[in-house]
Assembly symmetry: C2
Homo-oligomer: 210 residues x 2
DNA sequence: AATATGGATATTGGATACAGAATACATTAT
DNA sequence: ATAATGTATTCTGTATCCAATATCCATATT
């Protein structure tokens, strides 16, 4: 038996809003009204307010003084910036992970799950398992700051903007294998480079489909 | 005439709490009660709640489910981590800044102000001008993500833990000059190295006085 | 007709009130 | 006496209420 993961209303609202933004149900630049969202989600305005605030800090919403919040519009520059910084930080995480007793077996197993998802063209499974892969590396880097920032970035850009095309997924698989190889051989700089390349290539594909 | 910078109660509470933590008025591990803080600051619980939430995301407070928030206790590992990640990010910022049309004149002027503060042994002025110096570089790096993360880090560790000793301030001045030199010569890697060294040395001094 | 002014409306920010969860304490049973 | 259970208290989370502010629209003024 596992402990029950209680979720506050606020966190549920955050999840709902994030999902809606990622789905495209809430479009870029759209104005959100506390009461409307509250009514739709059948909660009071209070948790919605706190959710707005949280998502503003995450960079997904923009709030102006006493004015409605709007869904952040991402420019090409924003996306470039996002991926460049992410590449640096994920690279650092991979480099650090390669120097620790990271559970390579776990990584390999996740990678197999990813390959299954890709073979089945199951985009949803791909997204979940891919995130898992990255998170194992982040965790092994053993840096609270790095983890927190990577977390913010992972949630910080609506992925719906780029469709997960088949082509992209298989490229990803190959790149993950490069990362695993570098980690196994405990080659710090190779791990960094492999990860940076992986993220940079994602950026390119993202922008091409944008 | 400048526009009046209205500040929400929430933001004022955030500022008060941060200051209290940095001063040591709120000690590591201390439990905070929403209503107590609200009463002390003569506001309602609501802005206090949101301030708690914001400071939790900043890493200064820890909140447990339905339980009081506590002031984060920083271990030596946390401090090492903090400075290491900051070194990486500030290094990146300096490297980027060196490749842009950064206002070197402004940097030099700030540096002069820092030198005055150091000569006068005015710790408060030193803290303000030093932050200014760093922020100019961050801004020139032209990365919203980097800026946001550096901002979080700058506010993320209570500086009261280490006294600003005279010795440290003068070392800082010399290091800043190295950074300026590298930026003037538009030497990207040199700028990065100079900044990384600067932050790493700060860490050492911080830990020695800890 | 164009611009400014004043008031109505919409919406947010903050205070208060109420409900639910966690802890501490007392009481009971073994 | 010790452990388990029930109860009271404290504090947090959510809802509702009130006040302040911004926007919108109608009207007046030049």
């Amino acid at each position: 038996m596992k402990p029950i993961a209680k979720q506050s209303t606020r966190d549920q609202v955050i999840a709902s809003l994030r999902k809606a933004i990622f789905n495209g149900d809430l479009k870029d630049g759209e104005e959100l009204i506390q009461e409307e969202i509250a009514k739709k989600l059948n909660v009071s305005r209070m948790p919605v307010r706190e959710a707005f605030y949280a998502l503003e800090r995450e960079g997904l919403l923009i709030t102006n003084q006493n004015r409605r919040v709007t869904v952040k519009e991402f420019t090409v520059d924003d996306i470039n910036d996002h991926y460049d910084i992410r590449a640096m930080m994920e690279g650092e995480a991979a480099a650090r992970a390669s120097q620790t007793e990271i559970d390579v077996q776990e990584l390999k197993e996740i990678q197999q799950d990813i390959e299954i998802a890709v073979a089945e063209k199951n985009v949803n499974d791909y997204i979940i398992t891919n995130e898992h892969f990255h998170r194992v590396i982040w965790k092994s880097a053993k840096s609270a700051r790095l983890l927190s920032f990577l977390d913010q970035m992972w949630n910080g850009l609506p992925p719906h903007l780029a469709e997960m095309v088949e082509d992209q997924m298989s490229k990803s698989v190959a790149e993950h294998n490069e990362i695993i190889k570098a980690i196994i051989s405990k080659n710090e700089e190779q791990a960094r480079i492999a990860m940076v390349n992986h993220v940079r290539r994602s950026k390119k594909d993202f922008l091409e489909n944008y």
